[in-house]
């Protein structure tokens, strides 16, 4: 394993992220903040939503921000680099095995997802305050869950980025991202789906469900949520599945 090459690539990604910092920040935080403002501030303030909704909403917003930052950070550059600029070839020719280049992309994506999650928490709290009751009662569990969320989103980005054609990016959003958000238990707890029993089972194939429920379990345990162990196991499953899938697709893309 060539760590020098690995860290040089990570340094390159960090350098590019720093250069595009403002753009990245807008991309990551604008949507969740608007959401928090409309649903947490406007709807609650005008009395259409109960005040407790603020606390219920926040974990879901964190889960979405992390998930989409991870997917976006890995998938979009890969789609462009493999199909349009081909600039990934520079790294494919570095003295390191191809699989590690994919791992590097995953790590870079995870770091971005973690930063996104950790920045959204205080930002959203600032917008929603007063009346948000969040607490990190079990820091270790919280840490494990956010790392797993960063992992599945980043690995998912790898799998998507190596499978999707440039001209289908729009379709990816409407066919993958949108259903994922709305059936991801982000704006409501999973238990709220009990009146739709079939749907309640089907949404379990959506990893975002476990991300939102996991955030809920660790940040606002006063609300109903899936058991933490189930959340961790499910996230672990998606991490491994998407990593294996992503690595396979990456190798397929990088060697013809």
């Amino acid at each position: 394993m060539n760590w020098k090459a690995f860290f040089a690539m990570l340094a390159r990604d960090a350098h590019v992220a720093r250069r595009n910092a403002i753009q990245l920040l807008m991309q990551t935080f604008l949507q969740p903040l608007l959401f928090v403002f409309i649903f947490g501030k406007v709807m609650v303030g005008s009395g259409y939503m109960p005040a407790a909704y603020k606390s219920l909403l926040l974990p879901g917003i964190i889960a979405i921000s992390m998930t989409f930052t991870g997917i976006w950070a890995v998938a979009m550059p890969l789609i462009a680099e493999f199909q349009w600029t081909r600039e990934i070839e520079d790294r494919l020719l570095a003295p390191i095995s191809v699989g590690w280049i994919a791992i590097e992309k995953v790590i870079a994506g995870m770091l971005q997802a973690l930063v996104a999650g950790l920045v959204v928490i205080p930002l959203a709290w600032l917008v929603l305050r007063p009346g948000v009751e969040i607490s990190i009662g079990t820091p270790l569990t919280f840490a494990v869950i956010i790392v797993l969320i960063a992992g599945f989103s980043s690995c998912g980005g790898l799998a998507l980025g190596c499978s999707i054609n440039q001209q289908h990016i729009g379709l990816m959003f409407s066919m993958v991202m949108t259903p994922m958000i709305f059936f991801g238990c982000t704006y409501y707890p999973w238990s709220a789906l009990k009146t739709f029993p079939i749907l309640q089972k089907i949404v379990l194939i959506n990893p975002l469900v476990y991300a939102s429920e996991g955030m809920r379990a660790t940040l606002v345990p006063q609300f109903p949520h899936l058991p933490t162990t189930a959340v961790i196991l499910a996230l672990l499953f998606f991490d491994v599945l998407l990593l294996v899938l992503g690595l396979r697709q990456f190798e397929k893309k990088s060697v013809t």
Binding site: R12, H15, I96, I164, L245
Partner: protein, 358 residues
């Protein structure tokens, strides 16, 4: 120590699936085996064997689609051969990829520069991927920018660079880690003559430092003036290999006269063959399958109107009066003449029956 390159019986068949739109789905099929759709099998390499000596400038010459880029792809770990083997020095390309990548530098046919970085950063990060220390890689990047006349643009993003500048930077990047073997895929395609001369100088200089260079080209002049040895590639295999001089000497006579007659007869072909200095006569019309023998069988018969004849001969222009009078006497009006001197272009034509530019 200089490193050689070798391939043995390389084959590569691309199996490309139907276009995505036709396939109906938008996610690329993960596994082709399960698909029932018929695949188009495109053979790119068909038993290509090469041996490039350490420290040699070697050229792969051939028309578009001959398999040159696929050969470079296989040797640079980017294209997995369907069968056959490839070595860089003692290292099997497909068993010791990371090691091989350390030994090679690659200039691709299409620029693949990192658009998120400046020119200088591209070089510096490339050095870092290869584990070169910070001071050395910074110094080397500056030296290469200077050498490729890019110093002034060093701190600009490469997005706005012209094609020639991108090409220069690609070459600088490939040299950044001082590879033993440098691959250049169509290095002068799209370059202006001035830059091409700069490029040739730089390639020669790099070669003098004891490096092995493999370049692909479909420019005859480039192959002729730059390469010590050449392989002419067509349809995925080597059809001739040797020094440019050897290859040119292998064309019968050396001169090629492409003739057209208003009324071409087999008798005419025989009389052409009998002229002093004529080494080989090839009728171009498919009906006489390019050989004089089959034409002889149907002597006196009109072969085809306006068909062409390729005459390989020891001399060029001085044959024309004789050919013209011969044509006049046999009632076949000479309608077009093209004389070319001994060249690789003629060689290619001789071996394949096609022009390089076809």
């Amino acid at each position: 120590m200089a490193v050689g390159v070798r391939t043995q019986d390389l084959r590569k068949v691309y199996s490309s699936s139907p276009p995505m739109g036709a396939a109906g789905g938008f996610i690329a099929r993960a596994d082709a085996k399960g698909s029932k759709q018929a695949k188009t099998q495109i053979p790119a390499l068909d038993g290509l064997s090469l041996e490039i000596a350490p420290g040699e400038i070697f050229g792969l010459l051939g028309p578009n689609g001959a398999g040159k880029s696929t050969t470079v792809g296989v040797l640079t770990t980017r294209v997995r051969p369907t069968s056959g083997q490839a070595w860089i020095g003692e290292h099997d390309v497909w068993k010791e990829q990371a090691h091989v990548k350390r030994l090679i530098g690659v200039v691709p046919q299409r620029p693949n520069l990192d658009f998120s970085l400046t020119a200088r950063e591209i070089l510096v990060f490339h050095g870092a991927y290869f584990g070169i220390g910070s001071k050395v890689r910074n110094d080397r990047a500056d030296a290469l920018l200077e050498k490729f006349k890019l110093t002034e643009r060093g701190n600009q993003m490469v997005r706005g660079f012209s094609g020639g500048m991108m090409q220069r930077l690609s070459i600088a990047r490939a040299m950044m880690h001082d590879p033993e073997v440098l691959f250049l895929d169509e290095p002068s395609a799209g370059l202006d003559p001035q830059t091409r001369i700069l490029l040739w100088e730089i390639i020669r200089e790099y070669h003098q430092a004891g490096k092995t260079i493999l370049l692909t080209t479909h420019y005859m002049e480039e192959a002729d003036s730059l390469c010590q040895r050449l392989a002419i590639v067509d349809h995925g295999h080597v059809i001739a290999a040797g020094t440019p001089a050897q290859l040119k000497a292998s064309i019968p006579g050396g001169f090629l006269l492409r003739l057209r007659f208003g009324n071409q007869t087999a008798d005419l072909l025989q009389r052409l063959q009998a002229l002093a200095g004529v080494r080989e006569v090839r009728a171009l019309d498919a009906a006489c399958s390019g050989s004089l023998e089959s034409a002889r069988g149907s002597a006196e018969k009109t072969v085809a109107e306006h068909a062409g004849v390729d005459v390989y001969a020891d001399r060029g222009g001085s044959l024309i009066p004789e050919i013209a009078s011969l044509a006049a006497s046999s009632g076949a009006e000479l309608s077009d003449v093209h004389i070319s001197e001994p060249s690789l272009e003629n060689l290619f034509l001789h071996h394949t029956g096609r022009s390089l530019r076809d």
